[in-house]
Symmetry: C2
Subunit: 234 residues, 2 copies
Amino acid sequence: VLEGAKVITEALDADAALEDLYVAPGTQDPVVQRAARAGIAVHVLAAGVMERVTDTVTPQPVVAIASWPAVTIETLADADFVVVCVDVRDPGNLGTVLRTAEASGASGVVCCDGSADISAPKVVRSSAGSLFHIPVVSGGNPVEVMERLGTWGLCRLGTSAHEGVCYDGADLRGRVAVVLGNEAWGLPAELAEQLDLTVTIPMSGRTESLNVGMAASVLCFEVTRQRRAAGAGR
Amino acid sequence: VLEGAKVITEALDADAALEDLYVAPGTQDPVVQRAARAGIAVHVLAAGVMERVTDTVTPQPVVAIASWPAVTIETLADADFVVVCVDVRDPGNLGTVLRTAEASGASGVVCCDGSADISAPKVVRSSAGSLFHIPVVSGGNPVEVMERLGTWGLCRLGTSAHEGVCYDGADLRGRVAVVLGNEAWGLPAELAEQLDLTVTIPMSGRTESLNVGMAASVLCFEVTRQRRAAGAGR
């Protein structure tokens, strides 16, 4: 379910497969005509119905149903920069991670079993369209996902509050999978053991941790920074 | 107003000045006894009252009133790393910026007129205690704030989607003020003209911008990274 003209426009821009568009009575948004021209069935709802079916505090006048393309992890077999979410349960955080992954140039994201549902409206909203722009694999046992990525030769990189090497001292120019855990308890021990590299983001003050969206931003843009610096040095 | 045992514990840890503690009937949280021992007046509310006065979906069983210490901008006259918020209106984003500022080692934050109220419960929650740990100046005309910081010799750094130098190519080792604008429209023209340096965070994909919390994380940790690298090179 895609809520709001902004998200639906992003989906149309990305050629996502929309099936039906539902519109509150009296809605004049240009996205409605655009969808109709694209062959999507447009249904005008009775007054008051939209308010009952949408989950936001401020109901959107337009809602679309999209068929979600199933992306398999094999899509990422040759990827050189992957982001893996393990137990990232907050939809807003997951959306932020998707947005950061796209912006920093990741090839794709794997949201393992236990993370928020990527089709949840809040994930779609907070990803600001990134969900439509890069391959996002939904589901998968995290231990098996880690094994696959390792077999494919990606360096599986995780974070630790204190026990890793400084993140900007690690060489992130090779093929890398940035593995993000749950904000409260990090990665389960069995996954931490599968990591090829553990890094720490040094922190000042009394801060104990960054939230997972912030940590993802710092790590993913460091990957890109190092690659850009290496490219400039060639 | 501080809502919830977690935030109140952080405030007690930071020796913030709490005035009164309000408790829902039957609350057993250890923070209540700790506050009482610290000389804070504890009031037990009648059943149902807490649900009406708190603003979260899940009401907290404990709420405290803190007197907010007024921090003046003069506190930052000798600072070497300041974060300035101009029109950062979303309380969650502002809290994230405070958390990033503390974690990256900033000396303080200025929240100019037009930004979210730093005492709003959502700011307090999402700052995860940072509000109590570093000096936060609330209010101030943004043009005047920029003038003061410039007079004090800080390099006022802002972002532009396309027109700046690459952020990691800029020298951020000197005294710097990272100026963050509104997510939708950035910095007003009059403030953009006051900047000493405009940087761009290069982005891949179709992403048009990072949210202000992500941009703050990338920039603030780049400041710290450069300073750490410079220290290691000495």
